[in-house]
Each structure stands twice: as structure tokens, then as C-alpha cells.
Subunit: 283 residues, 2 copies
Amino acid sequence: LERLGTVAIVGVGLIGGSLGMTLRDRRLATRVIGVGRHRAGLALAQDVGAIDAGTTDPTAAFAEAEVAVICTPVTRIAADAIVAARHGPDHLLITDAGSTKEQIVRAVEADPRARAAFVGAHPIAGSEKRGPTHARPDLFEGRVCLLTPTPRTAADRLERARDFWTAIGCRVSELSPSDHDKALALTSHLPHVIAAALAGVVPPELHPMAAGAYRDVTRVAGSDAELWTGIFLENRSNLLSSLDTLQRRIDEFQAALIAQDQESIRTWWNIAKNRRAQFTFYE
Amino acid sequence: LERLGTVAIVGVGLIGGSLGMTLRDRRLATRVIGVGRHRAGLALAQDVGAIDAGTTDPTAAFAEAEVAVICTPVTRIAADAIVAARHGPDHLLITDAGSTKEQIVRAVEADPRARAAFVGAHPIAGSEKRGPTHARPDLFEGRVCLLTPTPRTAADRLERARDFWTAIGCRVSELSPSDHDKALALTSHLPHVIAAALAGVVPPELHPMAAGAYRDVTRVAGSDAELWTGIFLENRSNLLSSLDTLQRRIDEFQAALIAQDQESIRTWWNIAKNRRAQFTFYE
């Protein structure tokens, strides 16, 4: 990747902040500008070295940008992308880091100028922690970044988005916004729901009797309510299907347990165990 | 704790092996004998330094033991404890490390000699891995060990069991076998079921799109089917109640999601988040 000019990052929390750190550490851009709604967050992001400068005025930031990365909550991404398109130069690449894609891509593509500049992206990395103080320059290293082009996506922008996320350290692959949301409902949104369901039913007075299983299953229940409510609602129908799928699976277990059917419980468990054994996580 | 004489450990897997290592590292016993059904496992336990010697003949091992710790799967613990009582000296303390307690304690107490020697215990420590090669001398360090005495438990044995598990490094507390099983259904057995339920519904071809949430929620689905089938069946009615409780909680979420009720989803999430925030794990 040739060194980029100015990169504008909208939303400098954990994701935007980590992206800024990566860009700055690797000297991928001449300048990293944070765009936010609150001066305090921008100042914090600058203090931790995530951005070169911060502004609450998107107009000026986008005017000089070569790339704008929208790292706001999923409910705000489309609107922020459209603002970037309106104020940015003709060659601006707009990409994002949202955990859902279908509604965002549809809303962005309804705006001709935004559609011409936009490539939906989802770097699969994160944490239950939030804010620029938890940002890390290696957050995206080796992680999959899913690009979700559509037939209306400009080929040159897709190429630039691939180069951009690869330079950040991601392993880039592509699928449709709809396939993305179906998959992530199962691989990410459903795990969050069941983590919170378990955390919600174990009263704190029993915590001394909980150990590693509880700790790990519930970890992501510490995530931000506002962010995740947005994600659940944006991916509502796929998440409802995933909940049904999970339900049927739990029902199978429950039926085998009621029947004291040792063989069925063992088989049910081993299917899960074998699937889990095929999982590799690049850290 | 005065140095113990011979400690016999029945079952030298992850738990029994770790216990042996702790006893040997801390020089808590003059001799640690592993009792098992297979010579290969005993040889492995000896190779990793978990036991001083191993035998497939329980008679001889128990005859010289001051303490017998039953670390076999929950379905075998009561029978092994009764064998230990039959062959052990009058002053023998028998304790165990089983994840369930009610059925075990009831079965042991049906045997007068075993009842007089036994104190049910559950050191809350473990791993999805198994076997003496994964044993660690610090597995129990700082972990809670729940003792489950009944009105029929001998006071001197209870005192010796407290001293024993404290010397191992555990923070000891006491509750009834029935309260133990109710609590553990929620804090441990239910998390295992939902970990496996999730692992069972995510097809491996989606694994590249899974990250930290999936990894952590499903970790314990890698546990042994046989061991956990035994635990689920031993704690069947409490686990069924816990599944119902979880079900109601998931239903609440589902109803709020169907209704697109942002406020209810947020509240539902924050209850879980606040409960999880109160959890401290001593590692």
C-alpha cells in the first residue's frame, strides 16, 4: 500500500482508536484525524496516541481525507457515511467497521454519492471493553475483515478497501451483506445473547461457587448495552432465527435429560465437542 | 496441618493428578499413592510427578492410607468410597472431588463404615482438558472447596477434611449436598450445557467468522462427554430447573426483540451486565 494521505476516523472508541493506533504505528497515513461528537473523547484518543488531531467538525475533516472509516455504533454508521460522502473529495474511500451490514449497506446505497464511495467492512475483532483507553495497535492483527460489496459497489473502491484492511493487518474476505448478517447472527450475536442470558440468571450470591465455565461463558455480557441493543435490532430477523436454532438444540438436550437417555446426551455433547475442536483462533 | 502419612488418590486424571502434585510439592504427605484401573494412566501420573507410586490394587493402597481422596467420575465416586472404607484403617478420612454431591453423599451414607469416614467435597477448579498430563500443582490454589457435611458426618472427619483442603490451598466453605447441587446446576452445569448448545449450532464453515465471543462461550464444550453426561444425570432435576430459568430469560429477550422494544432489550442486557460486573475470579 502506498502511504495514504489523511485518514478520517469517525468515532474514536475501542475500534476507531485501535485503527488510529495501527495507522500511526505503521505510518500508513500522513495524518489521522478523529471525528467525534465530544471533545473529551477526542482529547483522550489523542492522549493515548490514537489520532494526530481531533475535531467535532466533520466538514473540514472529510474535505482533506483520502479515506474515511466510520467506527460509530451500527445505528449511526449509514448517516455518518452519507455525511462523509457529502463533504469529502471525489476520490474519497468510505469504509466502516460495523458488526451488521445489510441495513447499513442498503441505507448507504440509497444515497448516490455515498454509494459511489462506500465499501462495507467488518473487521472481526473487539472486546467487552470500550473507549480509546482500551484501544490497542494490534487489535486487528491477523483477524478476518469481511468486506460486503454489492453489484453497485465501485470496483476501484473495493480494491482500495481490500488494500486498506490488508495494510491494517487483517485477512480480508468477501461476502454479501445478507450472508454476512446471517453468519454473524450465529457466530457473534447469538453468543452475546446467551452470555447475557446466563449472567442474568446467576445471582451474585452464587458467584463464589462459579469458576472458569461461568467466567468464560459470561465474559461478553460485560459489553455495552447501547451498542449491542443496536446490533440486535439491526440484525433482528437473523438473530430470531438463530435463537430458534439454539432453542431446538437445547430442547434435544432437555428431552434426552428428561428421558435419562445417556447415549443421546453423550452423542449430543460429542457433536458440539467435535465442532468446537475444529475452531482455530488466530491470536 | 501436621504432615499426613499416606494419601491414596483414586483416579489420577486432571483433578487427582493435580492434587497429587500439590501434596508432593508442599510435602503434605509422606507418600502419595495413585489408585487406578489402568497401569498406563498410573505410569503417566508417576512420570509427571503426580504420585510416588501407583497401583491397580485398592486393597493394599487403602490399608496404609490416612486419607483417601476419590477423584473418579461422579458416577463411580460412591462405590470407590465404599471400597476405600472397607479396606482402610479405622482412622481413615475419605473425601472426594466430585462436581455433584447429593446422590453421592446419599449412597455413601447408606454404608455405615463409609459414612463414618466420609466428608463430601468439591474443589471448584478444573479445565476442559483431562488426564494427568494436564495436571498442575496450582490448580486448587485460591479456589473455593465446598464441603457438604450432613447431620450424620463425623465431627472429627469434618475437621480433618477442612484442614486437608485448606492445606491444598483452597478456601473452604460448607453447605448441604442439596444446596450444593442446586447452586452448581446454575453456576457450572448450565454453563456447560449452553456452551455445548452453541458449539453444536455453529457449523465449522462459519468458524472463520467467529472470534472472541464464540471462543469463550464455547470453550468448555471441549470437555469430556462421558464425565459430563454423568454430572448432568446425577444433577438432573436441578439442571432441568436451571434450564427452565434460562429459558424464561431467553424468552424475555426474544419477546423484546420481536417487539423491537429497545428499552426492554437495554434493561435486560444491563441486569446481566451488572450481575457479571460483581463477579470476581481468583486466579
